[in-house]
């Protein structure tokens, strides 16, 4: 679950991470009021789940409340990353002396949380990581002990800070760790952390992505905040309701498989034979007849589809159930376009018998199936 900037900042402040003076606004009028409250030049920032919103024009500066209202009007009318902007954050404009980077994420290979910092933050941090990796400081968090104050301090020193600023930054790194730890965060990030000309350190941006698998421990979040407003079409919505991984692509062959790896490999196989997938549809493990039928139904709703490839490797999934689902889909939904079935594994014989009885042909290998469906698609076109 991703949080919007202003939602993340509310949490950051509760952990003593200072943020610029500001507040959220949903209309230009509100934005004007916010700017007036702040009483100095402001930044008006689109609240969307998208990186590089700055480049997309989602951040504008305003010297007066009227300008802020106008900026908000423009931004609220935008779509960024194909998403509508439903709110803006109006914040005091900062007098920037230095942009710093702080982030915490999980290193999957080390299987540890890692705290990352750099005295050169801002949008170019990733290039910096490639160009001058020595300017990026990484500290791994002990999986059993957590992150200690002295480690945050060593990190701040490695980032180049001493004196009073050392202690301020140490506290901020620790606070950021507390946010990450308390919220089961996959990503907790301040970029940039601004050092102002007056010597204040402020989280100018804020990211907090909570581990979806841990959301059950964060009822306040799931109850209190709206979820990521992904705009879904009817097919995507339906697939999500049935907990199927469904992605629409540019091609014309709907690939319906079980398991993400196999589905990806099936797409690759189609491509190798000169075809192009329209649909990535992973039924998941142990799909029954009803689920198989529903999967085919959803895939067929996409107008681009000219052929269907069902590729099942039976493990928990039983081929007899798959066969029943295919037969049902054909009987109930027509399934008049070319369809190639490849199905092996658990209860293979029973499944094949069901298909044979219904007069539906099937193939034994994935490559034959991929080749055949590409061929059939070309014939249709």
């Amino acid at each position: 679950m991703k949080l919007l900037e202003f939602e993340a900042k509310d949490i950051f402040r509760a952990f003593n991470l200072p943020t610029p003076l500001g507040n959220v606004a949903k209309t230009p009028e509100e934005a004007k009021t916010r700017a007036r409250e702040i009483g100095k030049p402001v930044a008006v920032k689109a609240q969307v789940f998208a990186g590089k919103r700055g480049k997309a024009g989602g951040i504008k500066f305003a010297n007066t409340p009227d300008e802020a209202g106008n900026a908000a009007r423009e931004i609220l009318a935008m779509r960024i990353n194909d998403l509508p902007v439903e709110a803006v954050l109006v914040e005091e404009k900062l007098d920037i002396q230095q942009e710093i980077y702080l982030g915490i994420t999980v290193d999957r290979t080390e299987r540890k949380y890692v705290v990352i910092g750099s005295s050169a933050g801002g949008m170019s941090i990733e290039e910096l990581a490639v160009r001058s990796p020595e300017k990026i400081v990484k500290m791994y968090v002990d999986p059993l002990l957590g992150f200690q104050t002295y480690e945050a301090r060593e990190m701040a020193i490695a980032m180049g800070f001493r004196g009073k600023m050392l202690n301020t930054l140490t506290s901020m790194i620790l606070s950021l760790w507390s946010v990450a730890d308390s919220y089961d965060a996959e990503l907790t990030e301040i970029n940039p952390l601004i050092l102002t000309k007056e010597g204040r350190l402020l989280a100018a941006d804020a990211r907090l992505n909570v581990d979806d698998s841990a959301l059950y421990r964060h009822k306040k979040l799931t109850d209190g905040l709206r979820r990521e407003p992904v705009e879904q079409n009817a097919r995507e919505k339906l697939a999500a309701e049935h907990d199927m991984a469904y992605v629409e692509l540019d091609g014309d062959i709907a690939c319906i498989c079980n398991g993400a790896g196999l589905t990806m490999a099936t797409l690759d196989a189609v491509a190798l034979h000169g075809g192009k997938a329209s649909t990535f549809l992973d039924l998941g493990g142990g799909a029954d007849a009803e689920r198989v039928k529903k999967g085919i139904e959803i895939a067929l709703m996409y107008p681009k589809v000219k052929a269907v490839l069902v590729n099942i490797m039976g493990g928990i999934t039983r081929c007899d159930e798959v066969a029943k689902g295919i037969v049902a889909a054909r009987e109930e939904k027509g399934l008049s376009i070319p369809t190639v079935i490849r199905m092996v594994g658990t209860n293979e014989e029973q499944g094949q018998e069901i298909l044979s009885k219904a007069g539906i042909p099937f193939l034994k290998t994935m490559e034959e199936a991929a080749e055949r469906v590409v061929q059939l698609t070309k014939e249709v076109s």
Binding site: R111, S213, G261, M264, F280
Partner: protein, 290 residues
């Protein structure tokens, strides 16, 4: 000889009374696995498919001299189940459950590591050693024939696909390990390579990877430093649309784009034979084993 699971392995099924636990206990027994006991707190004293059920792993282990565990427990309780198995010294501990909180995964993996115990998974089909008819997992046993190739994979059904292709080509498997699909898993490809290197029954290794993360790149780097067995790889996801990114931090850490191209290049540079199609794995193996 085999990796992690051999003929002496005696398995406890944690969460044996749930529908998954019950179903796969039957399936494991049918395959030949020595499932000696199960646990289900509050249901001690009953049995499932003739397998006695206990309230705790401690009791089950004490009564049946168990050596390994397989876990079918809902995500919120799976980490505790794994810690229980670890505290009793069961090894390996196979966590079938998917979507454990990452924080729990990290904790479990490191506690296990301190005790020298291997966690397989979470979100894994498990591990199978065909020659001794022992599977501690949910994979269809019949697609894995016995032989001398070690197989490890990040994805489930694709593993079966490749195992089936090998079987069809007359190439057997020493041990196949589902590494698991969750963000943090107990066994990395690199660690898997080390296990297979020390196994006398293994003459070559197949690594099945997929897009995302940098586990394959790190395995490639490990191989490039000198690895005594031939390695064949297949990477799924060449035509997958670019996935969602995790802010800047992800890219900074992995130092990799995580694309199939990047992984394939790293592996080829390390001298690994990379298959274009799953069926090609068997061909490349045949060449490598000559």
């Amino acid at each position: 000889m085999a990796v992690l699971v051999d003929k002496k392995t005696r398995v406890i099924v944690q969460g044996i009374t749930g529908s998954q636990g019950t179903f796969h206990t039957a399936s494991m027994l049918k395959y030949g696995t020595k499932v000696v006991a199960g646990t289900s707190p509050g249901k001690g004293g009953t049995d499932v498919n003739g397998v006695p059920v206990y309230d705790t792993v401690r009791e089950a282990k004490r009564e049946h001299d168990a050596t390994a565990s397989i876990i079918f427990i809902p995500a919120a309780y799976a980490a505790d189940a794994a810690l229980e198995a670890i505290s009793e010294g069961l090894n390996p501990v196979v966590v079938i459950t998917e979507h454990l909180p990452v924080k729990d995964e990290i904790r479990v993996i490191h506690v296990a590591a301190q005790k020298g115990i291997t966690i397989i998974g979470p979100n894994t089909p498990g591990i199978i050693t065909p020659i001794v008819k022992q599977k501690v997992g949910i994979m269809p046993g019949h697609v894995f024939s016995p032989g001398n190739v070690g197989l490890m994979s990040r994805s489930g059904t694709l593993t079966y696909e490749i195992a089936a292709g090998m079987t069809l080509a007359g190439i057997g498997i020493s041990t196949a390990i589902g590494l698991g699909g969750d963000p943090c898993v107990g066994l990395t490809p690199t660690e898997g390579l080390k296990l297979f290197r020390n196994d006398k029954a293994t003459r070559a290794v197949v690594l099945v990877g997929e897009i995302g993360g940098d586990a394959e790149e790190r395995a490639a780097s490990f191989v490039s430093k000198g690895f005594d067995l031939p390695v064949v790889a297949f990477i799924a996801g060449r035509t997958a649309p670019p996935g969602k990114r995790m802010g800047h931090a992800g890219a900074i850490i992995s130092g990799s784009t995580g694309t199939a191209e990047a992984k394939i290049k790293a592996l080829k540079d390390a001298g690994v034979a990379v298959a274009e199609r799953p069926s090609q794995v068997a061909e490349l193996l045949r060449k490598a084993l000559k």
